[in-house]
């Protein structure tokens, strides 16, 4: 073996490889044990499951014995219209996003690569990670802060938004894929934590939100943007 080959072998031991995925065997077995029904049956089961989750989600929040008026499902997010919002703490655009990490460390924790808009050669200074599930970066557009959050779906209940009739939800298209434009009155947000499960501490969001799906990721832009500006920004996120 030549010295170059020896160095290449040694290089293999010095690579920054992510840790092995946890419990791959359990997930493989779960998939193999689940019988695959005919498509129509699968769709019906899925629709019922989403309905059950939406009902459970709305009534799971303390003091929110709300009537469900309508719900939308997009990627890993459920958007549920209710008649009253549950009590929620308000979050500013600058606090409460979890631990700040360098981009590479955050992506290792999240288990996916963040999709980002062009940043002129500079990676984001920090990625904030909540519950090892949701990565958030703060961007600036026209001098105003905008948040870009991303998460991989862990079922139909990875992220939940509750809103009243005063908030409008409009289907939109982002890069040829489905999206939702949420505008108007404040709404609440709760999320699934990979380590600790569903978090029952809803936070109040006052900005407009664009939700869209890119491959296995669900993305959301939040901030003081109008619909056209939000979609324009979302189109540059790759």
């Amino acid at each position: 073996m030549t010295s170059l080959e020896i160095r290449l072998r040694a290089l293999g031991h010095e690579l920054d490889l992510p840790p092995d995925p946890p419990d791959l065997a359990t997930r493989v077995l779960a998939e193999l044990q689940g019988r695959r029904p005919f498509p129509w049956r699968r769709a019906a089961v899925l629709a019922l499951a989403v309905l059950a989750i939406a009902v459970a989600a709305a009534f799971a929040v303390p003091q929110a014995r709300t009537a469900i008026l309508r719900f939308f499902h997009l990627g890993g997010a459920n958007v549920i219209r209710v008649d009253t919002l549950p009590p929620a703490r308000e979050r500013s655009l600058t606090h409460g996003f979890g631990k700040p990490l360098p981009q590479a460390g955050a992506e290792r924790l999240l288990g996916f690569r963040m999709a980002l808009p062009p940043v002129h050669g500079h990676p984001p200074a920090r990625v904030y990670v909540i519950g090892n599930s949701i990565g958030t970066v703060a961007l600036r557009r026209h001098g105003r802060p905008v948040l870009l959050s991303e998460f991989k779906s862990f079922g139909a209940q990875s992220l939940k938004k509750l809103m009243t009739a005063a908030t409008t939800v409009e289907p939109v298209t982002v890069n040829g894929g489905a999206g939702l434009w949420i505008k108007g009155a404040p709404h609440t947000l709760t999320y699934f934590d990979r380590s600790f499960g569903f978090q029952e501490r809803p936070v109040l969001i006052r900005g407009n939100v664009l939700l869209w799906v890119r491959g296995p990721l669900t993305l959301r832009l939040e901030g003081d943007l109008d619909r056209a500006a939000a979609i324009e920004l979302a189109r540059t996120v790759h």
């Binding site: 072998r9 290089l11 293999g12 010095e14 092995d20 997930r27 590479a104």
Partner: protein, 184 residues
């Protein structure tokens, strides 16, 4: 790690529908399957999916596995194929990088700080040169040396003949020597 006779028995049991046998096989090979998928796909999320889907597809394809053939190359071919499909559809592949700090193993001699830094810079240059290779050459080097796969396993993972592995590795090594001339 399970020995060859036990693995053959586990594969036979799995072929007859024994999921517990397949679970043992998954636990035995999930590390190398995930690392192979990561090197091919270029990111952890795709690698995780590729490894998981690969194990599911391999189980369903056990009826086509030739009895007595080495199992790991057959499995890695399926996982690597899943990973390559994801790389084709991804906008870009992340580059491999070195660990943040070299971890000393018990019994290792401790190098001087200068020697450690030089070694690290030198390995960083080598990794950059590997990443500059064409995809075919880079994958051959990654499987054969970085993942330490055998020639048969490399051939299976890349879906090419063993002779093609030899020629690709040979040309890639030549290219690396040219790139690193003076530095080696």
């Amino acid at each position: 790690m399970v020995d060859r006779p036990l693995e053959t028995e586990l594969v036979e049991r799995a072929r007859r529908g024994d999921l517990h046998a397949w679970e043992t096989i998954v636990r035995t090979h999930q590390g190398i399957a995930f690392r192979t998928a990561y090197v091919m796909a270029g990111n952890a999320a795709d690698a995780e999916e590729a490894a998981q889907d690969g194990f599911v597809k391999a189980y369903r394809a056990l009826g086509r596995f030739r009895r007595g053939a080495p199992f790991r190359p057959w499995l890695l071919r399926i996982v690597a194929n899943e990973a390559r499909n994801r790389r084709r559809s991804a906008a870009r592949r992340e580059r491999l990088s070195l660990r943040a700090a070299a971890e000393a193993r018990p019994g290792d001699a401790v190098p001087s700080p200068e020697a450690a830094l030089l070694s690290r810079e030198s390995q960083g240059q080598l990794l950059a040169a590997v990443e500059r290779l064409s995809d075919d050459h880079r994958d051959a080097i990654a499987c054969r040396y970085l993942l330490d796969l055998s020639e048969d396993e490399t051939a299976a993972a890349l879906g090419i003949r063993r002779g093609t592995v030899k020629s690709r590795v040979s040309r890639a090594l030549e290219r690396l020597r040219e790139e690193l001339e003076g530095e080696l």
